[in-house]
Amino acid sequence: MSRSASVRTVRIAAGQGFWGDWLEAPHRQVTGGPIEYLMMDYLSEVTMSIMQKQKSRDPALGYAKDFIPLMERILPTLVERRIKVTANAGGVNPQACARAIAETARRLGLGGKVKIGVVSGDDLLGRLDGLLARGHELRNLDTGRPLSDVRDRVLSANAYLGAGPVLQALAQGADIVITGRVTDTGLTLAPMMHAFGWQPDDWDRLAAGTVAGHTIECGAQCSGGNCLVDWDRIPDLANVGYPIVEALPDGTFDITKHPRTGGRITVAGVTEQLVYEMGNPAEYITPDCIADFTTIRLEQAGTDRVRVSGVRGRPATDKLKVSVAYFYGYKAVGTLVYAWPDAYRKAKAADRILRQRLLDLGLDFGEMLTEFVGADATHGPLALASTPPDDLPEVQLRIGVRSPDKAAVERFTREIAPLILNGPPSATGFAGGRPKPEEIVAYWPALIDKQLVEPCVELVDA
């Protein structure tokens, strides 16, 4: 049933689903069969603030550093096979990321053969005070509070750009497009708009490209990874094939993968990915359009091939989402493992003793959470109700605290190990040492008028 790839088909392969995804995947995607584009998604809310921190220490950093060796490995193949790349690996410093790629290309003797597009303009950190002064309050979408509440603790602020500037870079001849905070879906939609000449108000097709992007943005999560349905019959996950969108100009597309790879692409598995991180399915809002996920039609069109059609879209809003990261406080998590007999009761006793000691020290934590891993950490009271914990072979006591007071969190971390010798018996598993207090970076989702954000596209020759 699989249709032969013609000029009218464009193939976009997912190479990374997050910063830290499988390093082998991009290489396998560019060598395992024909593709035109390699899409790599690196950014989440947490990564932006990590990158901002790195950039504040060294102005040459602030992007996904491991993207460079990964590109070094595949650049010769990209050039030879004329495969283009869209990646938001640029983080808070896409220019530096592009320079590093250009240097790598020159070192490989590919100077003059690679054009790099750089998309920026998403970074609002330097403009925040001006925006606030002009009455743009950047109110928190969840709490309704104005950003001025936490302004002095802000670490990064980025607007989510859409497919537009990526498309512009491709139109100007970029082979590799490195972006800052471009939406995950925009990285897949832009190549489709570029290949098919879709207009920015062709809402149904833009919505289709957005659904395609959502389907492959988490890498193997739509091709057999983290798939619950018949999970133990999914073949050869060791050799899992990452997904490929085979798109047609009319907005229909197939989700497939290279031949001779593991994993599985079925309607059930693709459906799992479609509902992942879903809000109101009729209103999947991106900078490019509003996609209606209740219009998606799925059909098994062959082995490891799911056809997606019928997607409807509506006009984009006049806002962009902004993600602000700010310093929130400190946290630490300590663990100990208790062995049979009475593992659960011992862990519970240790928790009571620890809490008593923290109280006696006068340490009051705003938040403190105890979980018993092996008994209730993932399913809470639902698990305890169906599986009596009395006879478990082992239970991990896991206690976390959170506070604006670093000294209090620090003191807490010193109260775990003593329990091994001065608490309930049969505790072990402390080889990792004392937990470290960790800075908490929290997120502040807000909206900003689209017209206030000006995406910037530059081209760099390698």
Partner: protein, 123 residues
Amino acid sequence: MKKKADRRTGGRADGDPRRKVLLLELAHARSGDKGDTANVGLIARKPEYYPILVKHVTAARVARHFKGMIKGKVERYELPNLKALNFLLHGALDGGGTISLKTDAQGKVFSTALLRMELEAPR
């Protein structure tokens, strides 16, 4: 003493109508996060199970199921085209992502916790 529930044989969907059936038999699921909200997409294993899910797995029922585990309300959306329901569990993640002290800070396994639900006579 509580009777240990059997994970797999709570009853078949197409079996004795009077028996209870574990939601795991009728559906599969995936969950994720948006801030302090976990979402659970619940997908019928067969198209004919979808009306059962719509009828029995209501927002109110899910809120009862997760009593003590979530602080906010439960919203439900229907995707008949995908034979799926999407639930938003507000206040489920102890503040969410980076703030949360929970093992499951990003709500990755709320999906399987929902599948523990037992339904009465879904015929």
